[in-house]
């Protein structure tokens, strides 16, 4: 069981290492979108600070959608998804492994870029730390819930657009608590409450999303 999970994760990381262009797109998209805002709304630090949390979080959501469209689609096309579904191990583990691999490829780099982008928005150190913490807790939610959408839209024409419509509403709690945590610390109210709620949301996603994804994969492949 453990070996199966590790194989799924290692396989996806190996594939990502062989095709750097694919996943770097999402990272660059994130950087681009976030960097457009200071250019668009002017350089007033007060104003930038006020929108920083929201902008970074919305950009992270959109960037995740870019990379999620491919999460299962490539494997579906070349038949390896079927082989993985036929494995003696439960499909839930496959869904979990894919989500973990997606987070390592997509979410982790985001955490490293976020502090730099936070500085563009004149965020104080304290707020940058909270931003990184909120992304650290929140991006796994994006990978987990996104997996559901990727599995549901598998093999559909125009699946990418449908994925956006399906998944963005599910992301709303993560967006509210994540951006709220940054705003909270800026307003001097602290971010603990928001971060714990975000943590609870991640825990819930971790428990539920792999099962739903597994069921969706079964349906999509049939």
């Amino acid at each position: 069981m453990w070996r199966f999970l590790m194989t799924v994760i290692r396989r996806d990381l190996l594939l990502a290492a062989r095709r750097k262009g694919d996943w770097l797109t999402a990272q660059f998209f994130f950087i681009m979108v976030v960097s457009m805002f200071p250019l668009g709304i002017g350089a007033d630090p007060e104003q930038l600070r006020r929108v920083a949390g929201g902008v970074l979080w919305v950009a992270a959501l959109l960037a995740s959608l870019l990379s999620l469209a491919r999460l299962y689609a490539d494997d579906h096309r070349d038949g390896s998804l079927e082989q993985m579904l036929l494995s003696p191990q439960p499909t839930v583990l496959l869904a979990l492994g894919k989500a973990i691999a997606h987070w390592l490829i997509f979410g982790l780099p985001l955490l490293l870029i976020a502090p730099l982008l936070g500085m563009q928005f004149a965020l104080p150190l304290e707020a940058i730390l909270v931003l990184v913490a909120s992304l650290a807790i929140g991006t796994p939610v994006l990978s987990l819930l996104g997996g559901i959408g990727a599995a549901l839209t598998l093999g559909l024409r125009g699946g990418g657009t449908l994925l956006t419509l399906l998944i963005l509403p599910l992301y709303v709690p993560a967006l509210i608590f994540g951006a709220g945590a940054v705003d909270g610390v800026l307003a001097g109210m602290g971010a603990e409450a928001q971060l714990s709620l975000l943590g609870a949301f991640m825990g819930m996603s971790l428990l539920i999303a792999p099962w739903v994804t597994a069921a969706a994969l079964r349906v999509s492949v049939d």
Partner: protein
């Protein structure tokens, strides 16, 4: 060891592909599924593999429905579909290794290489599968099949893309597997040279015609 179907029916959209299908294969037999294009051969194999849900009836492994047999069945079965399940960015060795890992097996390069060489891939062990021809990728998939150690092989057109030598090699593998007490369910449009192998023919199509010839344990009604 026995794979049987009971009153199996399959529907694709509005079209009923077959119904009331009863067939039984035992160790040391090869079930040759025949029928024209679009008659439901692939759908039948997908039902056998557990990827598809039958409209009615069930597939049984050793008398237990495959849904209940679950892991036991998946451990004993290997399915080679139209799509090879070979990842373009991995080398043949890595592909086979990943496939084995997904089955929960660990195989070393030393075990994999002789099999790939036997499949005529000696020259491309370290090349990404992207540069291989269709037939060569098919050979990679066949190598994983060999290493899986599965007793039941479900093969959907295993000969497509193979050259004359490849076809002869696959015939050799089939003979070896079946005579060694394995089971094979396969479709092909080519004629096979399988002397000494007990072949159970099955004609599949919307109208089931009683075409059974050989063993007594094979029954089919229309």
């Amino acid at each position: 060891m026995q794979l049987s179907t009971h009153d199996l029916a399959c529907q694709r959209g509005d079209r009923r592909l077959f119904s009331g299908l009863e067939v039984c294969v035992r160790a040391g037999q090869l079930l040759l599924v025949q029928g024209g294009n679009g008659r439901g051969k692939t759908s039948f194999l997908r039902l056998l593999s557990g990827l598809g849900e039958p409209e009615a009836g069930e597939v049984r492994w050793n008398g237990v429905s495959i849904a209940s047999a679950g892991e036991d069945y998946q451990q004993a079965m290997a399915y080679l579909a139209h799509a090879n399940g070979v990842k373009d960015d991995l080398t043949p060795v890595e592909n086979v290794q990943v496939q084995a890992g997904l089955r929960g097996q660990r195989v070393s390069c030393a075990e994999i290489e002789p099999v790939l060489v036997r499949m005529g891939l000696a020259a491309c062990l370290d090349l990404p599968a992207r540069v291989l021809s269709f037939g060569q990728r098919r050979r990679v998939a066949l190598a994983s099949l060999l290493l899986s150690g599965a007793a039941l092989w479900i093969l959907d057109e295993p000969l497509t893309g193979l050259d004359v030598r490849g076809v002869a090699e696959v015939e050799g593998l089939l003979r070896e597997h079946v005579q060694g007490g394995g089971m094979v369910v396969m479709t092909t449009h080519q004629s096979l040279q399988l002397q000494g192998v007990e072949i159970v023919p099955l004609q599949i199509g919307p109208v089931m015609l009683g075409q059974m010839s050989l063993p007594t344990d094979v029954a089919e009604r229309g």
